[in-house]
Amino acid sequence: MKSLHRRKLISASAILAVAALTVATVPANAFSPKYEVGVNGSEIKLGITLPMTGAASPGYNKVPGAMKAYFDYVNANGGVNGRKITLVVKDDAYVPTQAVSKTNELILKDRVFALVAPLGTANNKAVAASVNPGRRGVPVLFVNTGFSGFADQKKYPTTYALLPSYVMEAKIMAEYIKDNFAGKNIGLVYQDDDFGTDALAGFKQAGVKFATTVGYASGSQGAATAAGWVTKLKAANCDVVILFGVSSATAAGLGTAAALKYAPQWILGSVGGDATTIKASGVPAGVLYNAVGASFLPATTDTTDEYVSLFSSIYAKAVPGSAFDNNVLVGMNSAFVTVQALKAAGGNLTRKSLLAAIDAKGSTFASAALLPLNYSATSHVGYNGYWFGKYSPTGDLKPDGGKYTLYTTDSGTGAVVKSTYKRPAMPAKGLPN
């Protein structure tokens, strides 16, 4: 009987412990029904999950700082309809399980109004399946992934894509190759998952013939594997090589090729073409020189661009000593679009009014990008095109011939055409009106 007694005692104390823990940490839900969750008279609370630590974090971990820098700038200038924006940042280490539990914390504990710019295809998929922000009516603004599926409004009703999809990028790249490198031997290195296969689909549709393709498993990229890629590319006599992978893979490919004195014409995908990250992982800027790169935002060194010049001065003040690179620009631009969406939703801000505002006015939002946003009642596609350029001897991406030539297309079977879009002037002081 002694042991039965003890067993009961243990079970009881365990239950007590759980109960105590539960009660102790239940937040005091002092929000009044007058406002939507995450909004009150003076504040709008937003949340983001992304890898701040771990293998996938380099480069991306600058994004929240960049977003905060812009939000703080807006807050200092009166906020959005009188409310200040706060951003709650959660590290998911690029693990889906973590992304789900952190998103749950954001929605259920921190009670954010909306999620902004959550990063990663697998993570966003897991969040959509488990947390299901769509069913909860929680807006997921401007996901930081180019997977074309997230623009599917039926599947992800509250999710908005921002980046051009990988399919679009591949199609446009194919067009660029036709124009500039016709008749050459083309090689492709791609990440062997949805990210890469999205691109493969695009290339296939555009009818690109590859001399060889090298798929690598995500996480395997490094000096050891890259030596294998280069050997294969060399064996196939590729004159032009597309690196369509993450930054670390691009860096590994470029670095190893340089060591092997292999210098084809490089074309870097936008995901892995971030010069700061590549340089930070040990590739000399000289190796990047003359490589072809793509972007939908203005070049980060283009100080004549009004957005770049304003954003870089805001960022320099907010995060002194940190380089203004493409990740920062992406982050600040996402924040900029977010502010416009919030503003458009009006003073009586609710999740519904936000979604409705994006659907109604999203295509007219100003942004740093050189392409339009394509939001409407039937589309959650963000930007839809790219310009191409070459990297300078210092490793900065500059447009061909000093001016931006923009190509645009869709994720389906649409043709690639030159864009005629003229970016509207930046709102005064970079504050959307």
Binding site: A217, G219, S220, G222, T231, A259, L260, V283
Partner: protein
């Protein structure tokens, strides 16, 4: 043919580094009968010591020496503080046999977290002292570069020093005696505790070299979450097991087998097998030669 030679050279260089890591594990195993899963963490920490040193003295070889000293001190500290306590407290009980393994895993976590706290999660760079541009034969360029040649030279040099130390000196005799029979060693007047600490320190220094060389064998970047370091832990362990855990020569052979077979699998089969290939090699080794390449029969039951 050219592809084959390149693969061979890639395999030999990474095999040399795996051998060193395996050697570090074997040194601890021989002195304490513990497989130290924190070894990769220690190597990572030592490499950061080397990185710090590089900031002040722009000389890789001096930094390497400092990393070795740092690694040795760290390892000695771990042995004196944790391992002694551990062996004292858990000499019996249900998990006595697995307690050291679990504790070293805990240490791995702690070391990694501390490194991230101190140096952050982003990449830092260690500049290779020699060119990583491959040698050319006619119009072909090999993967083999002055840096890689130096890596192999360092490994061979270190292995020679260690094998002389082990086979020809009294320190080596003390180390071996303490490993095989601590009680007899004590009866022969050997201060076994001290010898153990020395064995750990030696292992820490060896691991530090493995870490430093790993970084300059790649593109020179270093981060706490680096895949290379997780792989170093696994590869080092597998190389040590394939070699038989007790033999220095076996360790080198094990490292080479692992380096070469991984390189060939990646080149000729698939990149996707990058992580699973070492495991398959381990399984094959366990099935074909359960006692290790140079191990004695029945050696798996530790």
């Amino acid at each position: 043919m050219f592809e084959f030679i390149n693969t061979l050279l890639i395999g030999i260089t990474s095999g040399a580094i795996y051998s060193l890591m395996a050697l570090a594990l074997v040194l601890v195993w021989r002195s304490t009968r513990v497989v130290n899963f924190a070894q990769a963490g220690q190597a990572l920490a030592s490499t950061y010591f080397g990185f710090e040193a590089m900031k002040h003295i722009d000389n890789f070889w001096i930094a390497l020496l400092i990393a070795m000293i740092g690694g040795a001190i760290l390892a000695a500290f771990i042995e004196m503080v944790f391992m002694r306590l551990l062996l004292k407290h858990t000499s019996s009980g249900a998990i006595a046999s697995v307690a050291p393994i679990i504790a070293t895993l805990g240490l791995l976590e702690v070391i990694r977290a501390l490194i991230t706290l101190k140096w952050g999660g982003a990449d830092v760079l260690i500049k290779a002292p020699l060119s990583n541009t491959g040698f050319s034969i006619g119009t072909h360029t090999l993967v083999f570069s002055p840096m890689k040649l130096a890596i192999i030279a360092v490994v061979v040099f270190l292995l020679s020093i260690l094998s002389i130390l082990f086979q020809k000196t009294n320190i080596g005799l003390s180390l071996r005696a303490s490993a095989f029979s601590p009680e007899l060693a004590r009866l022969a007047g050997i201060r076994v505790d001290l010898v153990r600490t020395f064995g750990w320190a030696l292992s820490g220094a060896t691991g530090a070299v493995a870490g430093m060389l790993l970084v300059v064998n790649g593109n020179g970047s270093l981060s706490p979450a680096s895949i290379e370091f997780s792989l170093l832990l696994i590869s080092g362990f597998i190389a040590a097991v394939v070699g038989g855990l007790d033999s220095l020569l076996g360790t080198v052979i094990g490292g080479m087998i692992l380096g070469l077979s991984t390189a060939f699998v990646l080149m000729y089969i698939s990149d996707s097998l990058f992580f699973i290939a070492p495991f398959i090699i381990l399984l094959l080794a366990l099935i074909i030669r359960p006692q290790g390449i140079l191990g004695k029969k029945g050696g798996r039951r530790a």
